[in-house]
């Protein structure tokens, strides 16, 4: 900013030349760079900066009414549920957004069911949990578009995810009643949040393991699978030898047995 003179200010009659303009500009500049820095460093801190105090207190009420039985009044955990310090808004959004929380009953694994809260209520609880301790925040929309590198996403999925979730994302069994759910039709946001937070027995795939771009690629691969029918024809659930074997044993062998009986039967 050039040092202003009173003649300049009178002639141009612009706000830029006002005596307070420099101070205003500096203030705006500091706020925007600080805000951008806060936004860009971690999504977690972005979440905490955007959450209003009203949202947090709404969330606290919802938490006390619906979650505190297991997680404790201060979210520090009880013998029935883990501590929620540091799980972040992403974890809340995933668990409540997919209906896994609140649990219907204690079992090997929380089941997916229709969400019991509105998105606004979930956001409020997420804001409350995020205000307790820093954790992974709601993912940025730009990673969720599903239009990045599908081929690389497929490779990353096969290395990191396919052993549990099946190469076509059809899901699979784990130990003692636990299972990796099918990924067909799961919202991109929830896929991202699951990778970041490692819900239930899923391992965590933090940004130091799979970068946000890697996660976006994986989401693109899963969206590609959702949108494109199997080129090999009917996929029988993409379960591999289980469903394919069952099909050929029942219908293939059944047809052979039927034809054999017909060939050897005497005509009337």
């Amino acid at each position: 900013m050039r040092t202003k003179s009173s003649t300049d200010a009178r002639r141009r009659q612009t706000g830029r030349r006002h005596p307070l303009a420099s101070i205003a500009l500096i203030t705006i500049g500091l706020l925007s760079t600080g805000g951008a820095y806060a936004l860009l460093t971690t999504t977690a801190s972005a979440e905490t900066t955007t959450a209003t105090q009203q949202s947090i207190s709404e969330g606290q009420k919802l938490f006390a009414a619906n979650c505190a039985t297991c997680h404790g009044m201060t979210a520090a955990g009880t013998e029935h549920g883990p501590s929620l310090y540091g799980v972040g808004a992403a974890s809340v959004d995933f668990q409540m957004g997919t209906g896994r929380m609140p649990l219907a009953f204690q079992g090997p694994q929380g089941a997916q069911k229709p969400p019991q809260f509105t998105q606004q209520q979930i956001d409020d609880v997420a804001a409350y949990i995020a205000s307790l301790a820093p954790g992974p925040g709601i993912p940025d929309e730009k990673w969720l578009t599903g239009d990045s590198n599908t081929a690389l996403g497929g490779e990353l999925f096969r290395v990191n995810c396919a052993m549990c979730h099946n190469v076509a994302g059809a899901g699979g069994a784990l130990t003692e009643g636990k299972f990796a759910p099918a990924l067909k039709g799961v919202e991109a946001r929830h896929i991202y949040e699951a990778m970041v937070t490692g819900p239930q027995n899923m391992p965590v795939f933090s940004d130091t393991n799979l970068t946000p771009q890697d996660k976006a690629d994986i989401i693109s691969y899963l969206k590609f699978l959702d949108e494109n029918e199997s080129v090999g024809g009917y996929s029988l659930g993409s379960l591999g030898p289980v469903s394919e074997g069952l099909f050929i044993w029942i219908f293939g062998l059944g047809a052979i047995v039927g034809v054999t009986i017909w060939i050897t039967a005497r005509p009337n």
Binding site: N160, G172, T175, G198, P203, V204, W262, N268
Partner: protein, 356 residues
């Protein structure tokens, strides 16, 4: 096949059998005089509807003809479908339609021929039971003598028995001719001692642990609690036998709370602040064991449900595997990247004969 033609053993096309009459069927274990076997007690022949009713016979004939005509139509359909649904390069769904309709047409065409033939045989071809004698396997004396004569003449005319040089050199040439194949097939065996190959991997002291597939090094601080990294050795990229070496060297990297780890004394420095690396190759039959559960610290092998407990040095807690997964000793280098301390201390993967 002639019916009630019991005087001769008739084998169609056999000239010899028509020459002389035989009374026993030679060359078979049981010699049965012609027409002398007992009725095994089968129910009497049923007369088919098509034998009695000319109308039904006509219908059956039309059905057979219809199936054959349908086969023609299906063949033409296959050709038309191949033209209507061409394979568009780059469009995988076009391959699907092309294959589906082409395959459907060809299958229907062939199946209709088969079904028509069987229906024809069952309903229209001559029905009933008749005797059919076994063809004797031993030729008659004249035939045998004639055959021997052919050989004798051949030997005489070619001089095979007489010209020892030609005979012996020919036999020698025939014996030697398969040798190139032996040399060739010998080369299919591993050049080096397979036992040594099974006992070592490309892991070595100060080889960095890299992310699979991006091949980037991993800082110890990158491995957050509850994380699972799929790891390949840094030197794998330069390997001449990439797939074989990767198959042995694949490693799973996990971070547990140090208090969750039960470390035996001789492995005290094999983990780095709760970060442990284990071979991904199942000790049962070598499937990749990578189904990791964050809270139970169990690894599940998807092939035969062997389970390994990472908090107890990958000991087997369920399933057919007998030995724990081999642990890769790790530490960090001066730049903070995870590196191996050495190769695995035991062979990875399933048992083999020479594994001590």
């Amino acid at each position: 096949m002639a019916q009630h033609d019991s005087e001769h053993d008739i084998a169609a096309g056999s000239e010899l059998d028509t020459v002389a009459e035989r009374t026993v069927s030679a060359g078979t274990a049981v010699a049965v005089p012609s027409g002398a076997f007992e009725n095994p007690g089968s129910p009497p022949d049923r007369i088919r509807a098509t034998d009695l009713d000319p109308k039904k016979e006509k219908t059956a004939e039309r059905r057979v003809g219809g199936l054959f005509l349908f086969s023609i139509a299906a063949s033409i359909f296959a050709i038309v479908a191949y033209i209507i649904f061409p394979i568009v390069p780059g469009d995988l769904s076009s391959v699907r339609l092309n294959n589906l309709f082409l395959g459907l047409g060809i299958s229907l065409a062939l199946i209709s021929i088969g079904l028509g033939s069987i229906y024809w045989a069952k309903n229209l071809m001559k029905d009933g039971e008749w005797e059919e004698h076994r063809h004797p396997t031993r030729g008659r004396e004249e035939t045998r003598e004639a055959a021997a004569e052919v050989f004798r003449l051949g030997n005489e005319e070619s001089g095979f028995g007489r010209r020892a040089l030609i005979r012996r050199s020919l036999i020698g040439a025939l014996v030697v001719s398969p040798l190139p194949a032996v040399v060739m097939f010998r080369d299919l065996a591993p050049a080096a001692d397979p036992v040594a190959l099974l006992k070592s991997t490309v892991w070595d002291k100060n080889v960095r642990l890299m992310r699979d597939p991006s091949n980037t090094p991993i800082k110890a601080s990158d491995v957050t609690l509850g994380s699972v990294f799929h790891v390949i050795p840094e030197t794998l990229a330069n390997s001449e036998h990439y797939i074989e070496d990767k198959a042995k060297a694949a490693v799973l990297l996990m971070r547990l709370k140090p208090e969750d780890l039960h470390v035996s004394a001789d492995r005290a420095d094999w983990n780095y602040q709760g970060i442990v690396a284990y071979s991904k190759i199942c000790t049962h039959v070598g499937c990749p064991v990578a189904l990791a559960e964050q809270h139970t610290h169990h690894l599940l092998c998807p092939c035969h449900q062997s389970q390994f407990d990472i908090s107890h040095e990958a000991k087997v807690i369920f399933g057919p595997a007998k030995r724990p997964l081999p642990q890769l000793p790790i530490t960090v280098d001066s730049q903070g990247y995870l590196v191996a301390r050495s190769d695995f201390h035991e062979p990875v993967g399933p048992s083999f004969w020479e594994r001590s």
